[in-house]
């Protein structure tokens, strides 16, 4: 049976892509070392852990899904996920390898657990996946991804949004799906997005470091407390677009009660509260 062997929470942002694409000189300069340093620590940990699969809980930014039919939860069941063109041409990464069989199993398990996913045989993934993932899973020398993924997109854009509690339960359901998968696979669950940011209106650019750090502390120590927050609470605390942190909450729900935070890094910079957290799970 498959196992959940670790977790990662990570911000996502186009800025992370620009810095990554600029190469090591920029990644490791004074401005970006506080973000990329911790990422390389998590990358080394992941290389040692050698997971067989990543389940990536993220959100799309109207690069794949549009208002004609906006899914609350959308699950990939493909063997390959092309990189979305977000309006500037797609970044030159090869398509991300998927695991359709695991995706279908998760689909069945979610439906059995009374979740109502939109099931995607084709899905282009945007910076919700592509901004953090190369930092931990791309072999630059070989120009190749290492670990097949199953992407799971959460609606954080078009209200009504699935509640933080629903996202936590989604993570718990993803855990059951992994544990009931007959193949012996080690799976790391990734949640991306946030932390604080505000991209519209007069508060444009507002970042709230105290809440961001409190969020990561609660996520590590008392995650169910976060289920009591409404989106209104989250918006007031971290900005309209910060509600993406529900993706971290879903990730945390998939880890089981015994998980412990290892790396916790935070770097508020310009218009983003960048956060990174890794979780070890007792074998």
């Amino acid at each position: 049976m498959a196992r959940v062997i670790g977790g990662i929470g990570a911000s996502h942002a186009p800025s992370m892509e620009h810095v990554y694409d600029a190469g090591d000189d920029v990644r490791r300069n004074d401005e970006w070392e506080p973000l990329f340093g911790p990422f390389s620590e998590v990358s080394s940990w992941l290389a040692e852990l050698r997971p067989d699969r990543l389940v990536v809980i993220y959100n799309d930014h109207m690069d794949e899904f549009f208002l004609n039919a906006y899914p609350t939860f959308a699950l990939g069941v493909a063997d390959s996920y092309p990189v979305a063109d977000e309006g500037f041409g797609a970044r030159p990464f090869p398509p991300l390898p998927g695991d359709a069989a695991l995706g279908w199993h998760i689909a069945r398990s979610l439906v059995a657990d009374e979740f109502d996913p939109t099931i995607c045989q084709e899905l282009e993934v945007d910076h919700g996946v592509l901004s953090p993932l190369p930092m931990v899973d791309f072999a630059e020398g070989e120009g190749a991804w290492r670990i097949p993924i199953v992407p799971l997109a959460v609606n954080v854009i078009l209200h009504p949004l699935p509640t933080p509690r629903r996202c936590w339960k989604l993570g718990q359901a993803v855990r059951r799906a992994i544990l009931s998968y007959p193949e012996d696979l080690g799976v790391v669950v990734v949640g991306t997005g946030g932390l604080s940011h505000q991209l519209t209106g007069p508060r444009f650019g507002a970042v709230t470091p105290e809440w961001d750090q409190e969020f990561m502390r609660l996520l590590a120590e008392d995650p169910e407390r976060l289920c009591d927050y409404t989106h209104e609470d989250l918006i007031k605390l971290g900005g309209t677009e910060s509600v993406e942190v529900v993706n971290w909450l879903a990730m945390r729900g998939a880890l089981g009660p015994e998980a412990t935070a290892k790396v916790t890094a935070y770097y508020p910079h310009k218009i983003m509260g960048y956060g990174l957290q890794s979780y070890a799970v007792a074998a």
Partner: protein, 119 residues
Amino acid sequence: MTSSTDELTADYLQRLAAVQPSDLPADLDLFSEDTATRGIRLNKAAYSLKHAEQRELFAADEERWMEQFGLTGEERDLLRRRDWIGLWRGGMTIYVMVKLSGVTGTPLPEIGKQMREAG
């Protein structure tokens, strides 16, 4: 009519209220029923820019590009003027606005500056 609403538990009504932020400061917006309805044409227009052909058409003939989306005259003006606050108030989400920032060569910080000044 009370007979039917008796079925609705306090727990349900509380959950229903909680999914709809109702006490946000005026300077925090939501993308929800009102915005999504108001903004559907503008969002469709900017969303199209994920396709290279649409970006090329935009570059070649902005007016012709605009004709595809059933935009109102006012919406066309907002686009022509690069009126980012107006577009936002017109219901355009930031996520498709970013695509429009690309084709118009407007850096995000410039959009942000306008947003902050909107007050």
